[in-house]
C-alpha cells in the first residue's frame, strides 16, 4: 500500500495568540511555527503501518509558503520516504486545499490518505471530508484506532457519545485524532538522513484548480475578556459565595 499524508504548518500550540491591531488577522511574524499537532499523529500512524509491513511507501505533502517545507522535512525525519510541497502565496481555504490534494492523489494514486482531523489555526475541520467527497472515497474521521485489513480499514472514531467503529474499503481518507498514537521524535541521524530525501516542488497555479477565496475575512478581533475573579481562602467560603453571591447552587 501507498499512503499519502498531508501536513500543515501552523502557529505552535504553545504560542499565546495576539490579534493584529488593524483587525486583519493574528500576528505571525517572529512567532514559533510547528506541524499541526494531529498531523503528527497522521504521520506516526503511516510510519507504524509501514513498519508493520503493510505499506510500501509514505509520501508527505504540504501546501503553503516556502517555509511550509519544514513540516515535510520533519515528516521525512520521522519516516516518510519522500515529500511534495505545493507552493501557494496566500492562505487558502479547505475547499481549495482539497482540490489541490485531489490533483495530487490522481497523480500519485495512493491507497490511503491520512491527515489531522482539524488544523489548530482556523479550526475548520473540513479538508479530509472534502477530499473524500471530491474523490468519491469513503471517509473515516476523528480516528483513535486503525486496524488494517485486506483492502479495508477498521477504524474506531471518537464521537460525542463515545466511540464508533466503522469499516471503510480502500482507497479511503482517514482524519486522525490526538489519541490515535504517540508521535515519536525524530532522532538526529534520521534528521540528517531526511535532508537527503527528495521533496518535489509544485506551484498551485500550475495545477489548474480554482483556489480563489470564497469567504471574505472582514475582521479579526480579540474575544471579550473575562473580568478578574477572586481567590477564596477556604472551601466553606467557596460554597457560601456560590450559594449567596453567584447563586448557582
Amino acid at each position: 500500500m501507498k499512503i499519502l499524508v498531508a501536513v500543515k504548518r501552523v502557529i505552535d500550540y504553545n504560542v499565546q495568540i495576539r490579534v493584529k491591531e488593524d483587525g486583519s488577522g493574528v500576528v505571525t511574524d517572529n512567532v514559533k511555527m510547528s506541524t499541526n499537532p494531529p498531523d503528527d499523529n497522521a504521520i506516526e500512524e503511516a510510519v507504524k503501518i509501514k513498519e508493520a509491513g503493510k505499506a510500501k511507501e509514505i509520501v508527505a505533502i504540504t501546501i503553503g509558503e516556502e517555509k511550509a517545507q519544514e513540516t515535510v522535512r520533519k515528516a521525512l525525519a520521522v519516516g516518510a520516504d519522500r515529500g511534495i510541497h505545493v507552493k501557494v502565496d496566500n492562505v487558502i481555504e479547505p475547499l481549495a486545499v482539497s482540490k489541490i490534494l485531489k490533483k495530487i492523489v490522481e497523480k500519485e494514486n495512493p491507497d490511503l490518505v491520512f491527515m489531522g482531523k482539524q488544523a489548530i489555526d482556523d479550526d475548520c475541520n473540513q479538508t479530509g471530508q472534502m477530499l473524500a467527497a471530491l474523490l468519491n472515497w469513503p471517509q473515516a474521521t476523528f480516528a483513535s484506532k486503525i486496524e488494517v485489513k485486506d483492502n479495508a480499514l477498521e477504524v474506531t472514531r471518537e464521537i460525542d457519545e463515545g466511540l464508533e467503529t466503522i469499516e471503510v474499503n480502500v482507497p479511503a481518507i482517514v482524519t486522525c485524532d490526538l489519541r490515535l498514537n504517540e508521535p515519536r521524535y525524530a532522532s538526529l541521524p534520521n534528521i540528517m538522513k531526511a535532508k537527503k530525501k527528495p521533496i518535489e516542488q509544485l506551484n498551485a497555479s500550475d495545477l489548474g484548480v480554482d483556489i480563489n477565496p470564497r469567504i471574505e475575512q472582514i475582521k479579526v478581533e480579540e474575544p471579550p475578556k473575562r473580568k478578574a475573579g477572586i481567590k477564596v481562602a477556604s472551601v466553606e467560603e467557596l460554597v457560601q459565595k456560590l450559594k449567596n453571591e453567584a447563586k448557582v447552587i
Binding site: P94, D123, T141, D160, G162, E216, V235, L242, A246
Partner: protein, 317 residues
Amino acid sequence: MSVLLIAEHNNKEVRPFTYNAITAASQINEDLHVLVLGHQADDVAKSLSEVPNVKKVIHVDNKIYENYIAENYTAAIIKHAESYSHIVSSANTFGKNLMPRIAALLDTSQVSDIIKVISEDTFLRPIYAGNAFATVKSNDKKKCVTIRPTSFDPADKSGGSAEITKSDPAEASSSTKFLKKEEVKSDRPELGTARIVISGGRGMQNGENFKLISDIADKLNAAIGASRAAVDAGYITNDHQVGQTGKVVVPDLYIAVGISGAIQHLAGMKESKVIVAINKDGEAPIFSVADYGLEADLFEALPQFLSELNKLNTIQK
C-alpha cells in the same frame, strides 16, 4: 430561499443540540425546513414538526439511515440541496463529519462553527482555539454552515404544527460499513447541555480518584468533564473531554479541579457563566479565568466541598 437543517437524532429522540441549531438557523432565514434521515424515526419527525420555528419537515425513512454514515447522508442531502440557500447543522462530531462532504459536492466553502449570525451571509466564528474571533462573509451562492450549539439557546419545543412530507432515499454507499457504537450510558445530564459541569485534570492522578468528582457531580446533578491530559492518561473516556479538540461547554457553573488551564482547555469552557478553579499551584493559568479560585490540595478540598454541600438545606437542580 429557505434554510435546510439536518437533524441529529437516535431514531427515537431528537438529540438536544438540534434545538440550538434550529435557533441559529431561523436567525439566518425564518423559512426553516428540517431534514430527518433515519430508520423508523417517525417520532423524531413528529417532535420536530412541533417546534414553532420549523416550517416544514422532510422525512426520509430507510434502513440505510439507521446510523450516521456520512456517505449515505450526503447523497440524500444533495438531492434536496437545490431548493435551499443554506444547508446547516450543529458543529458537533455529527455535523463536523458530515457538512464538509456536502459542501465539497456543492462546490461551497463551508463556514464552520459559527457563534453568531450577523446576516444571512456574514457570521462570527472563533479561530485559534477561541483566542480570536473572525467576522466572515461567504460569497458562495449556496452556503454550508455549522453552528456551535452552546452559543445559541435551544428553540421552543412545542406549539408548532409544521407539515411533514415523505421523501425517497438516495443510493447507499457500499464502501463504508457501520460496525458498532460504544456509548457510555449515564444517568447524569449530558455534558454539552448540563447546568453544572465539574471537570478533573492531570491533578486527579488516576481514574479511581475521579470518584471524588463523581460524588460531587451526583450531589449537584452535574455532568463530568475532563482535560485532554486526563483522557490521554486513561483516567476517563474521551466523551468527557472539554476543549479545542473535545467539547465546548457553557454551563452556569464550571468547576475545574486539578486542571492547569492550557489554552486548548480554556477554549472549551471559558464562556461558562461562573468558573471555579481548585488547584494547588497558585500560578496555574486556570486562575486567570476563574471567578472563584481556591488554592488547595484537591484531595483535601473535594471531600470538604462535598461535606459543605451536604450541610446546605437546598441545592438548585
